[in-house]
Amino acid sequence: MKLPALTTAVFGAAVALIFFYAPTDADQGFSQRIFYFHVPIALTSYACFGWGAWKALRYLRTRDERADVESYVAIHQGVVFGALTLITGSVWAKASWGVWWSWSENQLVLFLVLFLFYCAYFMLRYSVDPGPSRANMSAVYALFGVVLIPVSFLAIRLSQHFIHPVVFNSHGPQMTGSQFFTFCVALVAMLLLFATLYNVELAGKRLDAHVRDLRELLT
């Protein structure tokens, strides 16, 4: 019960910081503030996929049905955050460059690839009957996903010249202190949001399982 409250508080703080504390960007103006949503959402999405793959590995090791459900829920959340990444990225591209889509923005292209990949995860799950086989295949596919992320990233880097304004580079953040602070709070808020949603969806799934067990006891 503490987690939803904490999430609400941090999320509120993040929104306040983004709109009232962070300085307006000199080049891009007000619209740059979408950065504080877009990038934390994208990073959270990676975290979801990573967590889903970790649970997938746990499933293959322990054959514990719960790990399968947890992996599914994490990837489900990852796809939701991934879709939000595509939407916020698209809005940002429209605000900055006047186009809804830019193939030169590597992160966005990567998310398109990942979005396609993980949507197929759901097709796979709905196409196979529930049971150990489905859990096995889902787990294997989830593991392919986390391996595909860096491979695809490399491929996309190779495929084009890097013209997107880089906010981070290898020497660390170029943001000012206040920008960086806002960014970190926003990132924590998104990760907490993921944790909350993950718990809620998982609680629903567990409830379904309990209802099923009860029904079996009665019959």
């Binding site: 054959r63 009957d129 529930p130 049971g131 150990p132 379904d208 099923r212 079996e216």
Partner: protein
Amino acid sequence: MIRGRGLAKRYGDRRVFAGIDVELADGDTLLVTGANGSGKTSLLRILARLALPSAGSLELPARERIGYLGHEPLVYRELTALENLVLFARLYRVERERVGMLLERFGLWEARNERTGTFSRGMQQRLGLCRVLLHEPSLLVLDEPTNALDAHGLELLDAVVEEPRALVVATHDPARFARRATQRLAFT
């Protein structure tokens, strides 16, 4: 040979069976009966190491000691009888001579170079029996083995059943195996 406690099988929300105990010593025969869709095949697949139980504890012999014959003869239709058995002899690390011996025994030697797709259902079932016996399993799991067999085929099957080894049979014709049965399990 087999020791299973509290076995259950569930596919998602659909429960197939629960709370099944199986104990089978060397030379015992377990007869599994019940209507279609009652869970016979699910149990047999678990006992053949093709599927995992959803709950319960289970001890089984190693894979190379189990022979399983399901509803399908499990042979490639585009390969000949001989090619099929030679392939499986390789996978089971069995001498090739055994292939010829089994084809003789099950009356398929003359047809050994024909594609199994052209076989009658009864011949395919006999070939399935050859495949199952290839590696001389110590546990034989047969799912409706009388399917499609003619009088001669049934005699051949009876001879297989008489051999001393642990046996699990799911059947709609329990009378045929009644003499050997040491345990029975009826699904409802």
